[in-house]
Symmetry: C2
Subunit: 395 residues, 2 copies
Amino acid sequence: MKIIKCFKILLLLVGLFGLSSNPALSQFQQDPVISPEFKEDGSVTFRIMAPTADSVKISGNWMAGWGSSEKLTKGTEGLWELNISDLNPDYYNYTYSVDGVRTIDPHNPWVIRDVRNTFSAFILPGENSEIIQLSDQKNGTVQEIWYPSPTLNMDQRRMKVYLPPNYNDSNEEYPVLYLLHGGGGDESAWTELGLANRIMDNLIHSGDTKPMIVVMTNGNPNQESTWHVAPGHKPVRESDSQNPMATMRFEESLVSDVIPFVESNYRVKTGKENRAVTGLSMGGWQTQKLALNYPEMFNYYGVMSMGIIRESQFAMNAQTHLELTNQNIDNLKESGYELYWIACGTDDFLFDSVIHMREVLDGHDFDYVYRETGGGHTWDRWRLYLSEFAPMLFQ
Amino acid sequence: MKIIKCFKILLLLVGLFGLSSNPALSQFQQDPVISPEFKEDGSVTFRIMAPTADSVKISGNWMAGWGSSEKLTKGTEGLWELNISDLNPDYYNYTYSVDGVRTIDPHNPWVIRDVRNTFSAFILPGENSEIIQLSDQKNGTVQEIWYPSPTLNMDQRRMKVYLPPNYNDSNEEYPVLYLLHGGGGDESAWTELGLANRIMDNLIHSGDTKPMIVVMTNGNPNQESTWHVAPGHKPVRESDSQNPMATMRFEESLVSDVIPFVESNYRVKTGKENRAVTGLSMGGWQTQKLALNYPEMFNYYGVMSMGIIRESQFAMNAQTHLELTNQNIDNLKESGYELYWIACGTDDFLFDSVIHMREVLDGHDFDYVYRETGGGHTWDRWRLYLSEFAPMLFQ
């Protein structure tokens, strides 16, 4: 107890007068281990203090293939270390495995969540990561707001709304981009993993993109919100039985609940010509369903990393979706639209579904713009696609 | 590579059709280890899979004293477990130590950050934690917004703004509470650790508190924002050399930059009678400095877990602060105020400073309300104090 009191007084001293350098304060004041450390040659050094460990590995999302890892080397005093070079400046995440136990980097305070898993995160500075760096100019606002969803029988659901930098300084009305996440994600995915607000800020500042509002909903129709803000600490997995891809419930709620709420609560330009929708993976599937079922609602569609699964491969709602496409795509043609944009990476495990979708659309002489990139089913692609899609909107 | 492809197709199946139960999917779909698990008897079971570990301990913020821990017991197949009972329903955080390496709970996706450290988090449901549970009624909005700070020579600084539930549904103007964090904290502390938005939602819904706007600034005058959203990935520690307690820079910027911004960007009732300020620890120090230097600005003051350090104990700006108090407190009396509220726990390591502050204030016949509780210098106290302070405002 005496030690604790002494420690707390030291803490107070630090807080009050900025004293430091006492090793007992390391946890609060200054972690003596710096990880990750960015070197001048562009490489990154990862470290973890684990004196009794026999094996420490790192798994990072820059590595090829799920489950890949590299070994760290044990140095003096139990400090394990690995230097990695040749990384492109970008936004990365990683975890350690210490004698087989998965852990984040205890020396790095930036932690993110993807579906159920947590990761340590960093942005490697450099020319190619400028679009995800915080702009020095005035940035937009991100709101966490609750709206009623009569369609889903919920008094409130949570979404994130990005307002462009000068929203508060003018009386201007803005067009709206509806930005949808993938399977397992939620309304936090596009800001936390996609850094969508920073991308929009930078695109608007450079003049490449028109100022617009971006609405990031929760695409799981049985969730009120990101699981950990919902009552009763409900984990995502409890709601997995209801599959958001197999029903139209999310799409109905977007059209009936979200859009009217947005258009009556923000200074918004209304009408089809002022609405765009895009999404990745499951959100790309939902974007297609919106196009096919509500052809009067949007003028711009972006289908990222998702096509139409071949019926031979998955017999269930892929078949329904194919029938829906064949049945409704001509309505969409007739109704008109400015842009139907399809983007996918050649290493994406859904790449074949995009080939199939293009075959189906070509069979209807349906106009679309196809953007093929390298890469797979990963957030670096979706950040890239957002940065390419947004400049084409509302021009 | 084949395995990876197979795994991805399985993932797709899960995403598309809700298949599950394949053990290879456990990381993404369903973690077979549930931790923490809330039992019907009110106890909580913590688990971690660590087959090769020799020792696993848990440190939780419900334990007495910094650095306390309890051992988990190794069960079959390397699953370590500990059941803890007699916890009050509240918001808790914890970490594990696996063979001496600090780690969050890899089975719990809810991770929070306090200063530089990350913790696993949970809310134990029950009657006493109702005020921090998400309300079923319509909740308020939390904004992350950037404002210019000419006083601090920054084009933009970040703050969080809470708007009460019906803000968008009316043309009402609202009073404003300025809510300040402690040393090492930032503009995220009061929502992430204090759950201030939930407390305000529940107090407003029950009618105990008037609807108000709550502004949560960054009290470190050399920071643009929470370190990880600032450019160049600057950690907090780089800015510790400039001490926010030793200068008036934050207080000047609050009065000159923040309040004018808030009052021109939100539907706000202006004037002293519609402004309150409260803060914990360093923020309680800043609240005192605001009272002493800007007696015309606020009508309600809340000083949480901070008094005036005895000069015998710390000779530096404590002496200056004492002089400032003796010099300016009569101005504040003359200027008038509705409430000067002081709250502290008897186990707080700053409790003696509160005794000293009361002696000084009593020497000036200065009116204040003193609220003494049990407990120490911890967030459960500050959540409690907010829930007691807010209902006294603007009545």
